[in-house]
């Protein structure tokens, strides 16, 4: 993937974090609207979107910092791959936690 695409998603994910984070805060702190949101499918879906955006934004940020401080073209490729794999692992773990929480298997 071109760097411009990675960074474009980075900025978009930043925006998504703002929106979904705000919804999450409202759902947990404003009982009037919160209860409605909590009881709908919208709450776990919002959380999953927040998790995806947060993971991408965070790991891409770490990748950018590492690329800047560890010189070398090969190093950049290795860092990108490592972050990608760490991201996948964390995503699977997070998703599994949410699935157990919201849709527990009897």
């Amino acid at each position: 993937m071109k760097e411009s695409k990675r960074m474009f998603i980075h900025y978009i994910s930043g925006l998504i974090i703002l929106i979904t984070g705000f919804i999450h805060l409202i759902a947990n702190n404003l009982p009037s609207i919160g209860t409605i949101v909590h009881e709908s499918i919208f709450y776990p879906v919002n959380l999953i979107i927040l998790l995806s955006a947060l993971l991408y934004h965070m790991l891409n940020g770490v990748r950018v910092i590492l690329i800047e401080v560890i010189p070398g073209k090969c190093a950049a490729k290795a860092i990108t791959w490592i972050m990608f794999l760490v991201g996948i692992a964390l995503y699977i773990y997070g998703l599994q936690v949410f699935l157990n929480l919201f849709w527990p298997v009897e």
Binding site: I67, E68, V69
Partner: protein
């Protein structure tokens, strides 16, 4: 401190010859200057009258060639464009530009920088070879088109922006403000058709996305080029073309010119 009379100023100059010296040292010289003396004049005076071993690089002496960039009182400045008394300081500290290998004393090595610059193909790229080989006219540009890139074309390649850039300090592969500005200068030129050929370099892990936009580069530029702005505009172009796929093909009109009709006549001895 402005005066017509000569006054004595102390110069603390960085001295280092990587071939013979174990470590750099600072050497002091007293120089008489007046209100018109530039730092370059003072350095040349030191070289002529006190220490011929002092090494400096310069050429035009009028802020055109970009050879004499150095750290003057810890700031990137052109020695030929900086008057000593305007610095308002009794001690003038002079050192080579940061972020470059030192050749000797105040001379830094730009070869890596110019090598890297080749990646962005800093020239106009066109595909109408027949017209290029046998010109029949000149390419028309509107005033707005010219204003779109002329500021960025003022770069004299002094490399001072790269020296001030915090990313260039930590990432040796980062293209840096000077080169990215060069790339934008040509990409925004209505006559140029080489955007695709430059993408690999500017859209890489060490291309324009690494800029932190702190704009230290623009503050030290002696020509008011604003490379930080060029980098942001470059990003906009990349998102538009490489991410969203929005492309507006450049159309440039050829105005026939009588005096260049037919094959270009080269002067004798040039054929």
């Amino acid at each position: 401190m402005s005066t017509d009379k000569e006054i004595e100023v102390k110069f603390r100059i960085f001295r280092f010859n990587p071939k013979t010296d174990f470590a750099p040292r600072w050497q002091e010289y007293n120089v008489k200057v007046d209100k018109s003396t530039t730092v370059l004049d003072a350095l040349l005076k030191i070289k002529e009258e006190q220490d011929p071993t002092l090494t400096i690089r310069y050429s035009c002496r009028q802020a055109v060639c970009g050879s004499c960039g150095m750290m003057i009182n810890d700031k990137q400045m052109l020695a030929c464009f900086t008057r000593v008394l305007e610095l308002n300081s009794n001690i003038i500290k002079v050192a080579p530009l940061k972020n470059y290998r030192i050749v000797k004393d105040l001379v830094t090595d730009f070869s890596e920088l110019f090598q890297k610059e080749r990646q962005v193909k800093p020239y106009i790229i066109r595909h109408d070879f027949e017209e290029l080989l046998n010109p029949t006219g000149t390419y028309k540009q509107t005033e707005e088109e010219l204003l779109g890139y002329i500021q960025f074309a003022d770069c004299i390649e002094c490399g001072m922006c790269n020296s001030a850039c915090p990313v260039s300090a930590t990432d040796p592969l980062y293209l840096g403000p000077m080169i990215l500005n060069r790339a934008y200068r040509f990409i925004s030129d209505p006559r140029d058709l080489g955007f695709e050929q430059r993408i690999e370099a500017i859209d890489s892990e060490h291309g324009c996305w690494r800029c932190h936009f702190a704009a230290s580069c623009s503050t030290v530029c002696p020509k008011g080029v604003d490379p930080a702005k060029a980098i942001q505009l470059l990003r906009r172009q990349l998102v538009k073309k490489a991410v969203l796929g929005i492309s507006s093909p450049k159309k440039v009109e050829l105005i026939p010119m009588a005096h260049v009709k037919g094959k270009l006549e080269l002067p004798k001895g040039w054929q």
